[in-house]
Amino acid sequence: MMPLDQVLMAIALSTYIVGAIVLIMYFFSRAEWQRNLGVPLVIAGCVAQFAQLATRYELTHIWPLLNLYGSLSLFSAMSVLIFIIFAFRYRLWFAGGFVVAIASVFLAYGLTWNEGTLPAVPSLQSYWAKIHVPIVVSSYAAFLVAAVISALYLLKHYFNRSLVARTTTAALAAAGAADVSMSGMQFESASAVRIRRDTPAIEVAATEGNVVARWLSTLPSLAQLDVLIYRVVAVGLPLLTIGIITGAWWAKEAWGAYWQWDPKETAALALWIFYAIYMHLHTRNAWRGVRSAWLGVWGLPLMLFVYLGVNIVIGNGSMHSYKL
């Protein structure tokens, strides 16, 4: 019989896959039933994944964090969890299919690194491992979510731009889109938040039956997407900061110096610098929007390099290749 942890892993992966498909359908069709089905599936998958991590610990008494199998599993669980929190707070379910699909790919990839259970080498036998690793992995998860929203931003922005050339001012005016461009937000009706139309060409094309425009017009406005990206990065960057601080603290206990210019810690510093750049640029009006969304997207390959590339490609010289 399959051990319990593997059963839970199979449940998590399969519910993620089905949940991702249903939520991607929801992105395109906006049928309520798809969201009502997809969201519980994704939550169930996330619960199963955390249960799997706990069960694996119960069975082996080894924290499942210290190899790529454990850490990728935690990474996907945290990505989905952080996404769920943001989705409840900011009604982000439209992006859920993409986040969960990417998380499932990482989870499946992590399964290929399952080499059985090894007790931790001495330098990893520290309570700091239980604090440092989950925090760093959560910050990566936040950057993944930010990258997905940034990609949606760019999709909407560039699609709008491609339509603008084809849309006449008269058509914009006829659709009532021209006067709500970026000029102002008046809350006379004082209703709940409405979708601001800062992509008028998409609004017009949507009323004319353009399928892509119809999908995109249901996304939050570009301005709101930009704020969402900022808010997610504003969770990721402090988490990464705490991750680097706890890592330094641990290094001080294990190796004698809080900073050794080890490839992994330096790579994390580079990622920190990258998002500090994002934050500084975001204080400037001219850099909010398209440019910062590009940064949000570029953060993903950098994060993956820092997270996986350094271990897999460069790992040899690193203390994080887990040798004494």
Partner: protein, 451 residues
């Protein structure tokens, strides 16, 4: 006079550039790129390694630009210095003076976030209800009569404007802490053979290794047997400044503190005593030393050298080669032989078996003793770095999660009632406050009605 004005202009331009966020970002970009280069290019290796890894022109470039030791290069330290100076100028010129903006009338309809509510209440009652509404939600209220109109200003999280200052200050404190280590700290490594005593340079500490113990366990995994280290421990006697000897245990992740210097378990190895024979007779000087891995013996009156390269814990009986098991079951040593500085061969020598080195010389590994590799470090900057890290983190959280905002409210008499016009501004533009403003605009009419 003209020269004075010119200098003032120059100074003004300098200050403007140095305190510009885009200048800071450019410095960050250079810092980030240098940091990544150090991740990608192996650091502190022998120059031959770079020539073996990269095409010759690239290897030459790496060495010439000092990219083989980026983090201690002038460029790297220089960029951090520039960041600190830019940070200081920006903080003094922009961040500290950025106090609560003055109370001024605004053109409400021109601000992107604005709203108007008509109410049958008279202006005085309306004003007091508006004020209560904001106060109940934690906003600070101030009133001014400006140009004949009475304005109400509601401010929120004003103190959070200091978040940027706190984050920047945290960074400076960390930099100061690391500089203290450069100025006053020291660190080093020492390898102590069992039974040996060493004095630690720059301290009055003496360490004697009583014994070194390890636990390595064979564990079956899908990829075969893995010899997993479980524990490394040095049992030592330490004598510190007070001259009293005491026993201590140093383990990975559990350093000991002697007079403010920390001692860490870092490595271990096998010291080997070799018998060196010349035409069958022991060469006394060479035979009385215990060598550690990497040590070299020079044979007298020859150009030959022997290096004790590595200890092989277990030699596989069938293949005669070292096996993966590092524990000393049937041990041997790997020797490199050089002539005139050139390698001439590598050989595996079992304990008690002589290896011919030519010229009448032979070498026999005789016995091994374990040694413990300890690292020590005295870093008086650590408390400051720790405080700086916490201050930085606090600054980040304040800047990111608390949004200083102001709502400008104007109440005018309108017919028998009044009209309330309000508009919001924040330190991070308008979009970020959109939904909160919508919520205020929804809740205010209800509050006016309810009283």
């Amino acid at each position: 006079m003209a020269a004075r004005v010119g200098l003032d202009d120059l100074f003004g331009d300098f200050v403007r550039t140095w305190s510009n966020v885009l200048f800071a970002v450019s410095l960050f970009v250079v810092w980030g790129i240098l940091t990544l280069l150090g991740v990608i290019i192996d650091q502190n290796r022998d120059s031959s390694i770079y020539f073996a890894t990269y095409a010759a022109p690239v290897a030459r470039l790496i060495l010439r630009l000092g990219l083989d030791n980026v983090y201690h290069s002038a460029a790297y330290i220089g960029i951090i210095g520039l960041i600190l100076s830019s940070l200081a100028v920006c903080t003094l010129r922009r961040v500290i003076p950025a106090r609560l903006p003055p109370l001024r009338p605004v053109k409400i309809d021109r601000l992107p976030l604005h709203s108007r509510i008509d109410t049958p209440l008279d202006p005085a009652t309306t004003r007091s209800r508006v004020e209560n509404f904001f106060r109940r939600r934690g906003w600070q209220i101030r009133k001014r009569e400006l140009g004949g109109t009475e304005w109400t200003f509601a401010d929120r999280h004003d103190w959070a404007r200091r978040g940027v200052l706190i984050a920047h200050l945290g960074f400076v404190i960390i930099a100061t802490g690391t500089t203290i280590y450069w100025a006053l700290g020291f660190s080093g490594e020492t390898a102590i053979l069992s039974g040996q005593t060493v004095s630690i340079p720059r301290t009055s500490t003496k360490l004697t290794l009583l014994d070194f113990a390890y636990r390595i366990e064979p564990i079956a995994t899908k990829g075969g047997i893995v010899y997993q280290p479980i524990d490394y421990v040095s049992h030592v006697t330490v004598t510190g400044r007070d001259g009293r000897a005491r026993r201590a245990t140093i383990r990975v992740n559990h350093p000991i503190n002697v007079d403010g210097t920390l001692y860490y378990q870092a490595a271990y190895g096998f010291g080997v005593r070799f018998g060196v024979l010349h035409y069958g007779k022991p060469v006394r000087d060479l035979s009385e030393q215990t060598l550690k891995e990497g040590d070299v013996l020079t044979l007298p009156q020859t150009t030959r050298e022997v290096q004790y390269s590595q200890f092989a814990g277990t030699i596989d009986r069938q293949t005669g080669m070292p096996s993966a098991d590092p524990r000393p079951n049937d041990p041997g040593v790997i020797l490199n032989i050089f002539d005139d500085g050139q390698p001439v061969g590598t050989t595996l020598a079992r304990f008690g078996h002589a290896v011919d080195l030519g010229g009448g010389f032979a070498i026999v590994p005789q016995r091994y003793t374990m040694y413990s590799g300890l690292q020590y470090r005295h870093d008086p900057g650590i408390p400051l770095v720790g405080i700086g890290a916490l201050v930085l983190l606090a600054g980040l959280c304040i800047s990111f999660y608390l949004l200083p905002a102001r709502v400008h409210v104007r109440i005018d008499l309108q017919g028998a009632g009044s009209s309330v016009a309000m508009a919001a501004t924040t330190v991070k533009g308008y979009d970020i406050f959109e939904s909160q403003f919508a919520e205020l605009a929804t809740a205010l009419p209800r509050a006016l009605k309810a009283g």
